[in-house]
């Protein structure tokens, strides 16, 4: 019996030591990346970077644990002693907020590449293209009462979209639209991928979501399709930034350049993580955002959105 207990203790100690082993790798040949892009796509890109440069990428991925973007908060909390070298974001608002907070280096702090877009998604079994709504205004029609799915407008790219719409339409029109949309009893979910899933399941025939989430839903066999891009669409690029005081600045620069390379962007387009290589290649005029003004109005708009949709 003593032997079995000793064995048990030894197993526990070994497990403990293994669990506690330091993950500080060879500092000279590694770079730490905080990545908000889909791990399924980002992982192979990091491995290819390591293969090409010999620099190991130690990545921390985001999780929609409770709501999006724990990494942004982490970057802010760690900014006095940054652990991260490179931040790979999948939308622009969060990156600009971090830049405004001084998280990135002063010059050439961050860049944008590729794009995906906000789209209306439909369930093709329940709705034909001819009958689908063609504009955001139509979503406030009584015909769509209780039939429109979207993520909470206070979070993620949906929030960015609503902020951009306010800037494009002006306060009065935007508020009227938001209130009309809220009054039309939309189904609010806690993520864009959930919106696609619910539309695909038939819980709602129409949804507002991101193009890459629609692509994932289609790859999974859901009967969904996106409506064509219109002037109400918002293009959402991926972003990459080097943190101020990055522990591995040279390796960070190499990863920063690599992620913005055509090779990487094409790869992301080929797996539908992005729609296109560059926003300026889009023929359809889409929403143009004055980001400085948007950031100034961020708190006020967020408060109004909470007041309209969190009632």
């Amino acid at each position: 019996m003593k032997t079995s207990r000793l064995i048990l203790i030894a197993i526990l100690v070994a497990a403990g030591l293994a669990a506690l082993k330091s993950v500080v790798a060879n500092r000279g040949r590694s770079v730490v990346a905080y990545c908000a892009q889909d791990q399924t796509y980002a992982g192979p890109i990091f491995r290819e970077f390591q293969r090409q440069t010999g620099i190991k990428v130690r990545a921390v991925y985001d999780s929609e644990a409770v709501k999006t973007v724990g990494l942004a908060n982490r970057l802010l909390a760690e900014r006095r002693h940054p652990q991260c070298d490179v931040f790979w974001g999948n939308e622009e608002l969060r990156t600009r907020q971090l830049a405004a907070a001084g998280v990135f280096r002063e010059t050439n702090g961050w860049g944008a590449f590729g794009y995906r877009s906000r789209r209306i998604v439909i369930n093709t079994n329940r709705l034909s293209l001819a009958a689908a709504p063609r504009s955001l205004l139509e979503l406030t029609n009584e015909a769509w009462r209780g039939k429109v799915a979207l993520a909470y407008p206070q979070f993620g790219t949906t929030a960015t979209y609503f902020h951009a719409l306010r800037q494009a339409w002006g306060d009065a029109r935007w508020q009227a639209w938001c209130r009309a949309l809220a009054a039309n009893q939309p189904l609010l979910f806690d993520g864009n991928s959930v919106v696609v899933r619910m539309v695909g399941r038939g819980e709602a025939p129409v949804g507002l979501t991101d193009s890459d989430d629609i692509a994932v839903g289609q790859a999974d066999g859901l009967p969904v399709a996106s409506l064509p891009m219109t002037e109400e669409a918002l293009l959402i690029p991926n972003t990459v930034g080097v943190t101020r005081g990055a522990p591995h600045p040279k390796a960070a620069q190499r990863l920063f350049d690599y992620l913005q390379s055509r090779e990487v962007v094409q790869r992301l387009v080929s797996v539908n993580a992005l729609e296109g290589l560059a926003a300026d290649e889009v023929a359809t005029p889409t929403l143009r955002v004055n980001w400085d003004a948007l950031l100034r109005e961020l708190d006020r708009t967020t408060t109004e959105l909470s007041g309209i949709f969190l009632r």
Partner: protein, 805 residues
């Protein structure tokens, strides 16, 4: 402060607590009357209910009772509601009450029941069980209330707006951590007050055996109550565990994704297990150490202080609940502020920070369980040991630990489960390479990779029960359960068989699961039949499949009324699918394969031919609406000959077959017209070209097959309307094997008829029905290189594969 949201949260919290407490109490009544073996098993089921991830349970119930739920037709309940939220949260949390109340009733002595045998049934519950268990019930209610109050994910999916949403807006959108903390006060204050109210009570932990024989309890409770509670508990287990687990394991793609998820997540798998195990060990050790340290050299046993403020240790123990009640991400922020400093890098950059986060969050469980466990130690033994001069360590090692080990192990297991699923506490501090399965699950969930998520959830469930299996194996090895060598062998054999079955089950699921239902077939050409797919709109499911095609690698392609093309491997495993460009006017029907390996798909409503690569990329699209030669009017079938020429049949305004060059740019010939004479057609629904470039046309409404030479010259026709051998009823498609045999798919007779090269009937396969080998309006057929036959069994919403002998 949004008072409406707070009201919703409180409503959800209170009603969930009431319902979960009722369920748990009911289950406790039944389990208390069960023998040790069955009680252990049902406790394991309860643990699984606790360990199931909320989104798995929610998605399961949405599948059944959502807006498009499969049960909505006969059970008009809408799960997307406040009631649905309360229902699901109750299904997740009822085991808490069960464990607490069952633990409290373990202190029942036989004398209490035997003193008055007339106290039974309702009077037993009211007079004895309720007073004994109400404190435990209240404590379980507090815990359930806290968990329900803080839950955001389940209400969000079910359209119930709750208070945590406002906290996350502050934290996440405007990065206002202080504001988020400030807003959190109701979520912290309410449970803390309740804890303060019950602080002087102890926390009972369940044991599989107490001094009261189960038979006596059962007898006093009465058969009516016992079986009523039993029926209720069984239904509860089925709803809380059976349905979600079935949903998880019944999706074939879950198993298909499992090997890949396992390979990709090995590090995460190890991190999950080791971090949870180590953290649970640290929590229990710290709790024991704190209580042992507080042992007075002589006098009272630990925890005997009355009011919490009268004992500093008790106060700290009560305060330890704070990190558990706060949102986990706020704990993460605090750890960053404290430990993200140059002199702490060894800690901060390692997995130790994760262990620290877990330890802070769950210390209260370990500490309180240690305190309770030490209170149950035999006082006489403690006193004797003190008199002998035992040190604190010796007291723990030789006197207390042998008595409290089971309770400590149970507490360790609860903390282990909590750590296994925790994401909030560690998302801000996990070091690179320290990703756990739970973090990976939520990352994949965010991006919609549901099949991989399901596979990872299975892995997590296995991890959750792994300690139980290890504990069981250790007990068997120790011989703790043996009374006789024979029982030892029996126990070991049963356990080995159970473990082997579990491993076999998991391993069998780990291989890409081929379609089920391989059934022998009575046929001179085919040995057995296999069912591919089922009715539905999900991956690998069909809604009236009408056409099938096979490529050069024997991959199967299927189009159905969902407007998708689905691709399966040669053993029937789903590979990918893609949506047709347009489906507004109608769905695709008619498939073929060209000499380059591309898949041709017709769109009758769009009058065109689509050419897809095997990966689903549209490489060409041609065709124009019209009745003139070279135009299309309701194209129905397509075939390609050895010269790469494309043949397309049409019906409706025109009845003909047209022959084009490979790209559809040049019309080469037009064949046939409307009629029932030789070379005339009445709905040519299917086409096939044999090895000699002879064209076979399924002339469906003429109930015959017509055969043409490669230059279009009419050769022969066979078939007549009817059901006898050699008769045909609406032949919708056919294919020809290397020997010239024709396999004709009869929509009207719901069968496959096999003809020799001269048109003589060789065999009839199947008939109307839903069993394997039977058909319901089959619409299309295709042969692979091995001579296996695929049948689009449209009204059975499946594809059947007939394996060549």
């Amino acid at each position: 402060m949004n008072w409406l949201l707070l009201k919703n949260s409180l409503l959800v919290g209170v009603l969930t607590t009431l319902l979960a407490a009722s369920f748990g109490f009911l289950a406790a009544l039944w389990l208390a009357g069960l023998g040790s073996r069955w009680r252990t098993r049902l406790l394991a089921v309860a643990v699984i209910a606790l360990a199931l991830p909320p989104f798995v349970v929610t998605n399961c119930w949405l599948h059944f009772l959502g807006f498009a739920g499969v049960w909505r037709g006969w059970l008009p309940l809408n799960i997307v509601s406040l009631g649905g939220t309360i229902w699901i949260l109750s299904l997740l949390t009822w085991p808490i009450t069960l464990l607490f109340v069952l633990g409290a009733w373990q202190r029942l002595e036989p004398a209490q029941l035997e003193s008055d045998m007339a106290v039974s049934g309702w009077w037993l519950i009211r007079g004895l069980l309720w007073p004994l268990g109400r404190t435990a019930l209240a404590q379980a209610a507090v815990l359930t209330f806290v968990l329900a109050l803080n839950n955001f994910a389940v209400p969000a999916i079910l359209q119930v707006k709750v208070f945590p949403a406002e906290i996350w807006v502050r934290f996440n959108t405007t990065f206002d951590t202080a504001g988020a903390l400030g807003l959190s006060w109701p979520l912290v204050a309410a449970p803390l007050l309740l804890l303060l109210w019950f602080a002087r009570r102890d926390f009972p932990w369940p044991r599989t055996e107490g001094p009261l024989p189960a038979g006596l309890f059962r007898q006093q409770l009465g058969p009516g109550w016992f079986w009523f509670c039993g029926a209720g508990t069984i239904v509860l287990c089925l709803l809380a565990v059976g349905l979600p687990v079935y949903q998880l394991v019944s999706v074939s793609r879950t198993w298909a994704e499992l090997p890949g998820a396992l390979a990709a997540g090995q590090t995460a798998l190890w991190n999950s297990f080791s971090l949870a195990a180590v953290s649970a060990g640290v929590v229990i050790t710290l709790g024991l150490a704190a209580e042992v340290r507080s042992l007075p050299p002589r006098g009272n046993s630990p925890g005997s202080a009355g009011h919490p403020l009268g004992s500093f240790n008790s106060f700290l123990r009560w305060l330890a609940w704070l990190p558990f009640l706060l949102p986990g991400v706020l704990l993460g922020i605090a750890l960053i502020l404290l430990f993200n400093r140059p002199w702490c890098m060894l800690l901060y950059q390692s997995a130790a920070i994760v262990v620290l986060a877990f330890a802070c969050r769950y210390l209260a469980f370990g500490w309180n369980s240690a305190a309770h466990a030490l209170q149950t130690v035999d006082r006489d033994l403690v006193d004797v040991a003190r008199l002998e001069g035992a040190t604190r360590w010796q007291m723990l090692r030789y006197v207390q630990w042998p008595q409290i080990a089971p309770q400590a192990a149970a507490a360790w297991y609860v903390v282990f489960l909590l750590c296994l699923w925790d994401v909030e506490s560690i998302i801000l501090v996990v070091p690179p390479g320290g990703e756990t399965l739970a973090l990976r699950v939520f990352n994949l969930l965010h991006y919609g990779h549901n099949a991989q998520v399901n596979a990872l959830c299975l892995m997590l469930l296995v991890l959750a029960v792994a300690p139980l299996a290890v504990w069981k194996a250790w007990r068997v090895a120790r011989g703790a359960e043996f009374r006789t060598p024979h029982s030892a062998v029996r126990t070991a054999s049963a356990f080995t068989l159970l473990l082997a079955s579990a491993v076999a089950l998991i391993l069998s699921g780990c291989t890409p699961r081929a379609p089920s239902d391989q059934t022998p077939l009575s046929s001179q050409f085919f040995a057995r039949v296999q069912i591919i797919g089922s009715r539905g709109v999900g991956v690998g499911q069909f809604n009236k499949p009408r056409s099938v095609a096979v490529d050069a690698q024997d991959n199967l392609y299927v189009v159905d009324m969902t407007g998708r093309v689905q691709k399966f491997s040669s053993n029937g495993v789903f590979e990918l699918s893609w949506q047709m460009p347009e489906t507004e006017l109608g769905k695709a029907k008619g498939m073929g394969r060209d000499r380059d390996g591309n898949v041709l798909v017709l769109e009758p409503h769009y009058q065109r031919v689509n050419v897809f690569s095997p990966q689903g990329r549209l490489v060409a699209q041609w065709g124009k609406h019209g009745t003139n030669a070279g135009e299309f009017s309701w194209p129905r079938a397509v075939a390609v000959n050895s010269r790469r020429e494309v043949l397309v049949s049409e019906y409706g305004l025109v009845e003909r077959v047209q022959r084009f060059d490979a790209r559809g740019e040049k019309l080469l010939a037009v064949l046939g017209q409307s009629g029932n004479g030789p070379g005339e057609f009445n709905r040519p629904e299917g086409l096939c070209v044999d090895a000699q470039d002879r064209l076979y046309v399924a002339d469906s409404c003429n109930h015959r097959i017509q055969v043409f030479a490669s230059d279009g010259q009419f050769l022969r026709a066979y078939g007549r309307p009817g059901q006898r051998q050699g008769d045909l009823s609406y032949p919708y498609d056919l294919c020809v094997d290397a020997a010239g045999r024709q396999y004709v798919c009869e929509f009207g007779n719901s069968r496959i008829q096999v003809f020799d090269p001269n048109g003589g009937c060789l065999e009839i396969i199947g008939g109307p029905g839903a069993a394997p080998g039977q058909f319901n309006n089959p619409w299309g057929v295709a042969l692979d290189s091995a001579g296996n036959l695929y049948v689009a069994d449209s009204q059975n919403h499946r594809v059947q594969k007939l394996f060549r002998k």
